[in-house]
Symmetry: C2
Subunit: 332 residues, 2 copies
DNA sequence: ACCGTTTGTGTAATCGTGTGCACAATGCAT
DNA sequence: ATGCATTGTGCACACGATTACACAAACGGT
């Protein structure tokens, strides 16, 4: 039992050992299939003894279903996505689906990476990353309708999507900050080219416009703590803003640290800082961030619902909309 | 080109379209194989036109190599592992290997999960998690020698391992804290049953013993911020300790917050707090943690080296040892 | 005793590639 | 012109499972 056997036993060999045909072996492992219960028990016993498990690769080839799911993400470590990734992986595993992670952030040729995954005949594709275009995803996985996490309405027949709406929550947050007397707002983007970032910014810009205000400055980071820290120093020192809306929570923490450490300004009295995502870390005592938050569980529920709908071969694209809420901390 | 075609084209169909046999199609996609360059160009053109890519599942079945790698981890979100996971996934992708994540933390039956992955004939297995035993990993992936991230010397023929040694760094850290006048030490474990945790604790316990001291209290958390916070309150209030060594950085941050918030004690004057892992967040200005740190890049380099050695079919187990270093912050 | 149905099993085809072998065509040296 | 090495291509089988079909055995009802 222990140690390393060079080769894995096949159904045909097991068949010989159990004195049956390989078809019967297969049936022993298919829950509802015509087979004598005595035979099944005997086969399972012999199988266990020899460490036999049906080869999923061969089964996938025959079935035309791999039970693999491609998850296209920006990065793994980034907490904004990590909590959702963790939840989704858990839900997939419970359904006996295996996730293949495609990590876009540091891979030079994202399209080639997606093509590689598509050759593995993945059953589902979930695109979390805003670094790949919807059209590329559709073209590359042309037999597998992708599920796109989108912030804007996508009108594409070949895509199911989850839309996220934070307009109302952004309005509440801006309302509070303006009533607190802040006047000069800046937006700290996570990237300079992503449509997700553009839409998030629009939620806050609209809320400001409603009150006759606008962003007086804008900076571009890379969703990291360090970039939040560095850009905030510039915004506070050069542009003299007194409120910074950040593209995610991690940059917001960096910005808060920069304000406190470099300029000696504290939240929320001297300046207001707002994050986005609602990661667990934002609620830690040392951070206590005000943030535009999304219910991660509801979010992943929506993804799973789309996957199931897809599994059941219900035709047509489908779209689910989720709304963000404001989570209040002591930074705004 | 755009939109969704129900079925994927096969090599036989493409063969008909290009006026060759399916064997020639296959050769067109194999870099060094005897084929006329004119034929290859023509085939690749037709393939591109029809969106043909060879089916990796079928190829794997034929090749006996899947180019899939199973990564057995505790969780995805947990920053301790996330940085390394990110690095490793990047390196794998550069080698055209696809990672399948097995997430142990929240899955009730970890062994079944590993068995599922093993049916996909993964080429390599990397076990990061301390929640599965070495023997289970060897038994389940009996044709695939696993690579185990271990903290103790493993003498098993069927395993390659990476050992991590933090004894010297722990000694340096304890030395500093003792010279600062601290006397009552506590250890805050991440789990109550893991051998990784036991060994980490031993590094510090040995360093204390060398100075005629010992841990006066021990608590068990779950590697999370909240558990660090809660257990630290108990340790400080009930056991009156003045130094807490934590099983990872995240719990250390929780403990620091608890000390400051609940008991009004500050580091490093009133109490000393030490983390482990050396995650990026530990170095953030708001944390500035003293921590037993591991060079993540060197660590992943070692993993990749073992994978390559395994790929080249170099026989025999191999083991690489890495040493931790102390990273000084303002908490101890 | 006969017929229809149900049950259990084997045979053989299939999924889409890769590759050893055979063989024709070409190039080169004598 | 002959012999030999090289190149390019097709045929056919293997990889390891699933499953439609066929068929024998068992069973129940009249």
């Amino acid at each position: 039992m222990s140690g390393m056997n060079r080769r894995r036993i096949t159904s045909k060999e097991l068949a010989k050992l159990a004195g049956v045909s390989s078809a019967t072996i297969s049936r022993a492992f298919s829950p509802d299939s015509r087979i004598g219960s005595a035979t099944r028990d005997r086969i399972l016993a012999v199988a266990r003894e020899h460490g036999y498990q049906p080869n999923a690769i061969a089964r996938s080839l025959n079935n035309q279903r791999s039970r693999l799911v491609a998850l296209v993400v920006n990065a793994i470590g980034n907490p904004c996505e990590a909590e959702e990734q963790q939840l989704l992986v858990h839900r997939l595993q419970a359904r006996q689906l295996l996730p293949i992670i495609l990590c876009c952030a540091d891979h030079s040729d994202r399209l080639q990476l997606m093509r590689l995954a598509s050759t593995y005949q993945v059953d589902h594709v979930v695109v979390f990353s805003d670094m790949v275009s919807m059209q590329d995803a559709v073209d590359i996985f042309h037999t597998t309708k992708p599920i796109i996490v989108s912030f804007e309405p996508l009108e594409n027949e070949s895509v199911s999507s989850i839309r996220i709406d934070g307009a109302k929550a952004a309005d509440e947050i801006i309302d509070k900050i303006v009533r607190d007397g802040k006047k000069r707002f800046a937006y700290l983007s996570g990237t300079n080219s992503s449509w997700i970032d553009k839409l998030r910014r629009k939620w806050f810009a609209d809320a400001l416009a409603k009150r006759g205000l606008a962003f007086e400055a804008q900076a571009f980071g890379d969703y990291s703590y360090d970039s939040g820290f560095k850009e905030a120093v510039l915004l506070l020192h050069r542009d003299k803003v007194d409120a910074i809306i950040c593209g995610n929570d991690v940059m917001a923490i960096g910005a808060r640290d920069a304000a406190r450490r470099v300029l000696g300004k504290n939240t929320p009295d001297d300046i207001a800082i707002v994050g986005q995502d609602g990661i667990a870390m934002a609620a830690w005592d040392c951070n206590d961030l005000t943030t535009l938050s999304l219910d991660h569980v509801a979010f992943i529920d929506a993804v799973v619902e789309l996957i199931e709908r897809h599994d059941a071969e219900i035709e047509g694209p489908h779209s689910i909309t989720l709304t963000c809420t404001a989570r209040w901390g002591s930074t705004a």
